[in-house]
Structure formats: C-alpha cells, structure tokens
C-alpha cells in the first residue's frame, strides 16, 4: 500500500490510486474539470495541477499515481497561481452569461472562481463565437460557447453508452464539441447524465432548462421507482418558490452515486418518468360513484365506506375478496397490507401485473421489470402462484363468480396484458375499491377511489432485483388530500376495528424485519445506509 503525504498529512491508498483521489480521502479537494472517476483520464483541463517534491514541473494529480513516500502539496503559491491561470484561460472564450445560464449556482467555473479566481479581468479582446442553444438530443441542448472542452461528454458516449455520438472537432480555440457528421441527435437512453457530468453550462437538460434556479432546490435522497434496478437518486424539490417550473414541485431528478447499484448514472426513462407526481391527473380527494355520478368524500367518510364494503364482502366469505397490491408499493406498505387483509381472512392477495409488451432491457442499468419492488413482494410471499399475471388469476376467479369484490392498489389494468378482459369483468363486480395516485381507466370505474401519495411524498424501502433493500426519504407533502399507503391502511384498520397499523415506515419495517425471515433479522430502516442491505435470503443464510 503506497503511503504518501499530502499537505503534510499522511494517507495510504490502494495501489494505482491517483493523487487526486488520495487527496479526496483526506478531505482535500483538488479542483478539476476533465477528471471524472467513472471515465478514463483525459488530463486536459490542467486544473488539478499540484506540486510534487522532486518534480520540477507541476503535475496533474488525476494522471499521477500515488507512490510510496510521495510528498504532495496542493495549495502552494505555485499551485494557486496555476489554477488561477487555468481559470483565466477557460474564461477567455466563455460568454459569462451566468444570469441566463441554467448551470449558474452549480457551475464549476463559478465554484472554483470564487476560491481560486483572479478577480481582475485582463481580457480586452472579443470572444470567439460558436454555436449556441443547439438541441443535440431529445433531452439535451448544447452551448458550444460555454463549453470548456473537458471532453467528459465525449468520453461518456464512448466509454459508458458506447454509442459514440459526440466528438471534438476542429483545432485550437476553434475546437467544438458536436455530434459526429451523419448523426442528427443523441441516440442513447442515458443522455440526461451528460447534463450532470458537464461541469459547466454547455450541456443542459431540456426538461430543467429555465424552470428554476438551482439555489431554490432542496434535495431528498430517494430511489428511482422506474424499474427493478433501483437506481439511487436525488430528488430536487422546490417548495420555496411555488410559481417556478410551472408549479411543479419536482423540477428534476438526478442520480446519486452508488457504486453497487447504478454508479454515477441513471437512465432517461427513470430520470424523466417522475412527472406524474405533479401531473394534473393526480387523485386529490377520495371519491365514490353514486349511480355512476362521482361524489367527493372526506377521509372519515371514505374510510367508513371502505370498511363497510369490505365487511359486507367478507360476511359473504373472505374468499369473495381479491386484493391486487402493486410492486410499485414499498416493502412496508406491502407488509402492512398483507397483515390487514390476512386478518380479514382474505387469501387472494396478488401483485403481478403483466405489461402489454415486455419492457426494454439493456446491459447497463435498465431492467425489463418496470416495478421497483417486485423482489420485495416476492420475499413477502405475496402472489397467487399463477405465474406472471396475478391479474389473470383474479379475473378468472371473478369470471367464475368466486370473487365479487376487488381492491386494486395503484395498477391501471387497462395498460396490462389483460386490458380487454379487465374492462369487461370489472364493471360486473359488486364492489371495486381503487387506491392510487393518478386517474386512469381502472380508477374511473371504481366504486370507491382513495388518493394515495407518490414515492416522493413518503418514505420507505424498495427491494431491488438483486435483493438489495434500499431506503428512500420523503421530499414533499402528499398532494391534495392524498395519503401514504401506510396511512390509508392504518385508517382502514381503525375503521374495520382491526389491530392498529403504524403510519410510520420505520416502525413497520422493524416489525417486518422481525417477522419475515427473508429480510435481515433485526435490521431497522435506520441501519439501511444508502448502499442498501443485502438480504439474508440472497446470502443463502436464511
């Protein structure tokens, strides 16, 4: 293990580690632009120059391997001068249009200039004109004038997506990042990451562009519910300026680094798939159908009605009730729902909904299963044991007259492989209760609809496809009168006179971990660090 001294402090690192990373280990930040831990070293920005004893010239710390006995200084006069010079050079042709640039506030030209800048412009010349506001992909817009040619984006398309759309063209200070000739736009499903890795405002996100200033945003750690990968994400929410971003509370979602799940990346489907949380079709109030006419309800009335419907049904026989949970629900919600419905004697509790068409999958991040918690539901031993589609089993039972009451949690059957049959069968049933976030064809026909919170409005855990239990935190309050799944189940339990259900996800998880052997015994949610916990089941030590 090489042991080296950085700014007088000793640190040992793995062989092959560069000086920049070694310094990071000591909490010393060496400013840099082109270096990105997930990409090959380019060594071109020259911002990370440091002084190494015994070497006459300053060395770039991203390309210098830490060696035993190395003595590095990251903040000497010489180094500071070099950084100042690089920043001055970078700004020679930078348009300095910060007031209209979306990157402002999280731009590394600004951030480093605050600390290392010259604060005295010596430029008296005109800046070079290049192409501005050029859409280069469905989600990305390019400003060549703001670009500092760090080549991160080029390397991303070469090394991560391997789609090779971007290159640097021309020479000297006429150099520009652009699409290769013959390519009209970015063709990869991960282009949102380009806006993330661009250290300046050259590549910005068309979804986020001009929506809000980044300093109005707060962050909540979360898990992407877009597929069973469970990419770790940061939910950027704005509650201080309600009029921004067209009233959307969540203007954007960004990947959160987790080396074991998603690295630094996330896919575009996940990144832009959250918009339903602020959509106009959110269910905001409980509602029942009175002779086909919608009537809005208060929550107490809704709970009473739901309890009545369920009691009536179970009186005829608990077999008559079918419950369709969802693999989009958290482990806690699934566990609480299983407990509640089991205590009513209901045994038909499924969750599998087969999509009309199989989902897209690749070998980078995207999984075909578009539900975040299929594994969790499986470990809770839910399901009707009828293969891929619990919906089919329920519809079979309904057609056979064995079931006349169904409770559907957040699954639009009109988008499932059983769309036609569901459309025919559901209206014939005696009672249909729908608990969900957004209006859809299934919710519209339900006798009672209860508004549920989305993933950004609650906390909980999802179990990803490899059995990793990952916690996410709440960003914003549930919209309108919607309530979290746990809260709804707790209200139902009370209305039905059953054992109370906790509304607190952490308490429910503690109970779940106690009772379900597949989950790590004794692990409470507070122990689930951002990397998630492996399940004992996966480790084979049940």
């Amino acid at each position: 293990m090489p042991t080296l001294k950085i700014d007088g402090k000793e640190v040992w690192v793995e062989p092959g580690t560069n000086v920049l990373e070694a310094a990071k280990k000591l909490g010393i930040e060496i400013p840099h632009y082109c270096y990105h831990p997930a990409l090959k070293v380019a060594g071109s920005c020259r911002m990370c120059l440091v002084e190494i004893e015994g070497m006459p010239k300053l060395q770039i710390s991203c390309h210098t391997k830490a060696a035993d006995g190395m003595v590095v200084w990251t903040n000497t006069e010489k180094v500071r001068k070099a950084r100042q010079a690089v920043l001055e050079f970078l700004l020679v042709d930078h348009p300095l249009d910060c007031p209209v640039c979306d990157q402002a506030g999280e731009c590394y030209l600004q951030i480093y200039y605050m600390e290392h800048g010259l604060y005295k412009s010596r430029l008296r010349e005109n800046k070079i004109k290049k192409e501005k506001a050029k859409p280069i992909g469905k989600h990305i817009i390019l400003d060549q004038e703001r670009c500092i040619l760090c080549s991160r984006c080029v390397r991303f398309t070469r090394e991560v997506t391997k789609t090779f759309e971007l290159g640097i063209f021309n020479r000297g200070n006429r150099s520009v990042v652009d699409l290769y000739p013959g390519i009209s736009e970015l063709q990869n499903r991960y282009q949102g990451n380009l806006a993330d890795i661009c250290p300046v405002g050259a590549l910005t996100d068309r979804n986020f562009r001009f929506q809000t200033r980044v300093w109005y945003l707060q962050q909540a750690k979360s898990i992407c519910p877009g597929c069973s990968r469970g990419c770790n994400i940061e939910v950027d929410y704005n509650i201080s300026r309600e009029y921004k971003a067209g009233g959307r509370r969540i203007p954007r979602i960004r990947p959160r680094h987790n080396p074991k799940v998603n690295g630094y990346w996330m896919c575009d489907d996940g990144r832009y798939g959250y918009k339903y949380v602020d959509a106009l079709d959110r269910i905001l109030l409980p509602r029942r159908l009175d002779e086909g006419e919608p009537v809005e309800l208060s929550w107490p009335a809704a709970y009473t009605m739901a309890a009545d419907l369920l009691s009536e049904a179970t009186k005829e026989g608990a077999d008559k009730v079918g419950v369709l949970l969802s693999a989009k629900m958290t482990n806690e919600e699934l566990f609480a729902a299983r407990k509640l419905f089991s205590s009513l004697g209901v045994s038909r509790i499924g969750f599998r909904v087969e999509p009309k068409e199989p989902g897209y999958e690749d070998d980078l991040l995207i999984k075909a299963d578009k539900n975040p918690n299929t594994k969790g539901a499986e470990l809770l031993e839910l399901g009707l044991g009828a293969g891929k589609s619990d919906v089919s089993a329920l519809l079979d039972a309904a057609e056979a007259g064995e079931v006349d009451t169904v409770v559907i949690f957040n699954e639009d059957l009109s988008k499932s492989s059983e769309a036609e049959r569901a459309e025919a069968v559901l209206p014939k049933l005696g009672r249909v209760i729908y608990v969900g976030t957004n209006w859809n064809a299934t919710a519209a026909k339900a006798d009672l609809v209860l508004p549920m919170a989305t993933f950004v409005e609650q906390e909980g855990t999802f179990t990803n496809f490899e059995g990793r239990v990952q916690r996410f935190w709440k960003a914003v309050e549930p919209l309108g009168e919607s309530r979290t799944g746990l809260s709804i189940l707790a209200g139902l339990a009370t209305a039905l006179g059953l054992e109370p259900v906790s509304e607190n996800a952490e308490e429910v998880f503690a109970e779940l971990a106690e009772q379900v052997p597949a989950f790590f015994r004794g692990s409470a949610t507070r122990n689930l660090v951002s990397t998630g916990n492996w399940l004992r089941a996966r480790l084979g030590r049940r």
């Binding site: 050079f89 020679v92 010349e125 040619l149 000297g172």
Partner: protein, 434 residues
Amino acid sequence: MPQVKVLTEFFDVPDSHKIDVWEKHGGYQAIRKVLKSMTPDEVIEEVKRSKLRGLGGAGFPTGVKWGFVPKDSEKPKYLVVNADEGEPGTFKDRHVIMNIPHSLLEGMMIASYAIGAHVAYIYIRGEYVHPARRLEEAIAEAKAKGYLGKGIFGTDYDLEVYIHRGAGAYICGEETALLNSLEGKKGWPRLKPPFPATVGAFQSPTVVNNVETLSYVPHIIARGADWFASLSEGTERCGGTRIFSVSGHVKRPGVYEAPLHTTLREIVYDFAGGIRGDKKLKAVIPGGSSCPVLKADEIDVRMCFDDLAKAGTMAGSGGVIVMDEDTCMFDTLRNIIHFYAHESCGQCTPCRQGTGWLVRIFDRIAEGRGMPGDVDNILEIAQNIMGRTICPLGDAAAMPVISFVTKFREEFEYHVREGRCDLEDRKQRVAMAS
C-alpha cells in the same frame, strides 16, 4: 571552420537517391554487417557510444531511447520515422529524403533490428508530396533487391516498411500525436507516462526517430561509433554532425552540415555568407521557431545541445532563422504566435486558450489599439502556458514569446504605445535628416 560532411557529402552525387548509386558509394554495407555479425544489444551499445542524439528537436540520446524498448514484451515492436518536418525554419529532412532516401532506409533497417521490430512506418507530412514519392521509389528499389520484405539480405530477419502521409497538422510531429494520427485517430498528443517505448503505436512498444537521426546510423555502424563521436570536439554529451537549415536574411540560405562544436556565428557568417546586403545582424533563432531567440551579441555559442541550453535557448531541430537589423520583432513574433495558435490541437486548456488569446492581443496591438499593460500581460500569459501543457507545443509557443518580449521589450512597448513600428519611424527620421 570548414563544414564536415557525413550525409551532405552525397547530396552532390548525381542520382544519389538511386539504389545503385547509393550502393556504389558503400550503401547497404552497414546493415549487412549488422545482420551478419552484431547482436541487437551490440548495435544499441554502438549507437550509445556514438553520442548520436535525436535531431528532431528534443535531442534525446538515440541509443538510450532504443534501450528502453522492453525485451520481454510479447507484443510486436514498431519503429516509426518522424518525417513530419513542420517546425518553421527547418527543412533538412526534406533534403535528406530527396537526396539520400536509402541512407534513411538502411538506418531504419538497423534500428528495427536493434529494437526487434519487423514493421516500420514512415510518417511523412502531407505537404511533402515529392519526398513521399521518392521514398516510395526507394522502398520499391530495396524490395526488388530483397532488402525489404521476408528474410532480408538472405537472413531470417523480416522487415516491412510503410509510408503514412499526414494531413497537414504541425502537432502530428509530436511523437504521441503522430502515433494517434498513424492509428487513424485525431492528432492529439497522449498523456505520458506511458511513453511510446512501452506503449506506443497500437499499444505496443515503439521507437519514434527523426529522419536525419536514423540516416546517420548506417555511417556510425560502417565507420564506428568512435569516429562519429569524435567529429564534434569538446562536446561532452553530443557527437557527430548535424544538418542546419539556415534561412532568413543571409546571403546563402540552405542546408549546412557541421559538427556540434561549430558556433552559431560560424554558421551565419562562414557557411551562409553573412547578412544580406551586409546589414547588421539583429537576432537569430538557433533551432526552429519554438526556440528562444538570441541577440546579435549572443551568437558565439557552440551549436551543441548543452551549450545552447546554457545560453538559455535550444538546439531544437537545427532551423537557424537569421534576422537583420531591419526586422520588426513585433511582426516576427506575431507571425510565430499566429502559427502556434493555428496549430494548437486544442486538447489542453493553457495552450488552446493561451495561444488564441495572445493572437488577439497581438492583432489588436498591430491595429494600433495597444493598451498599457499589454506587454506585461503577454509575458504573463506565456508564462502561464509554459510547462503546464500535455505536450511541448505549449512551451514551443511560450518560449519565443518570452524571449522576444524580454530581449526586445522596448520595441514591443513602442508598438503598444505608438501603434506602429519604431523601425519605420527611425527610417523616416533618417530620411528627414538627410
């Protein structure tokens, strides 16, 4: 001081580029000797003892460079000839190729044998159309005689030589940019380490040598390292001769071969015949446009690598650019910086932005819009480029700027202040006085 001719001796021989003429003058004997009686290590040792240094500009000892190629590597090894002669003021490689292409080919054979390469490339600048053709003809001649290809000279040693023509970028004369270009990539210099000797062309050990450097090798082998080393007297770490390209305000511009203890004054006044129109000398750039300039009183310096370094400049590629008293240093430097800004590859920040910025400052001053502080800014920008770039192009741009501005500061101040050249003013004053 007479010229000492090793390579240029053949320049005057009619049809010296033809293989028969070349062989009549002792050509292809050294390679026969090498293949028959020398091991690769002995060849490397011999070249080391000859004190031959890289004549493309860096002056790295050639034998030492060959010795860096790992013996135990399973990868193929390559020899690459850098014929991308682009340094302004340098034109000796063109003459070598046009006159004695077989000397280069024989040198390549010996070098390839020494490093264990069976494929060698000649990367020649695209503008050298005739030299490229001449090389093609020479290769065809050698092939026809069985000197190239499978089992050359009846031994079991194979060697193929390919010509790759560049597309006109100065940066591709930098060895790693050259390798990228050779591989079909953009001509961007690579980060070092790894150096080409371990990871070069196609990720394999590679030696990149200049045309002139390799052309000396057959003569070293034929006549002995000691003979070559002794050609330069009193120069400890360099031996032999080199070809100087002399251009500018001299009576007889051209290529002159001389030992390295020759002084710059001898080259300018003896070989090149002194200053045109018998004017006064103002300044000389001794090794191509990227080398710091020397003032008229600084030219009593020997042309060996170490002495020129001590004098604060470089031996570079041997391109001696001579400027007489009527030369405007501002215009000259403006021309040079335009060149480097145009040729900067744009990969790393200081060179890309620094050269581009300098050009705009020089142009502004030339337009008569100089501002106080411009000269200091020019100096500081150049110093901020110096030593902080991936490849030497940054230094190559910064060094002339620093040396010109430091040594002729008054002229630059005058341009900034008055918006015109003091030479013109001086001429006017002289005219008015008479």
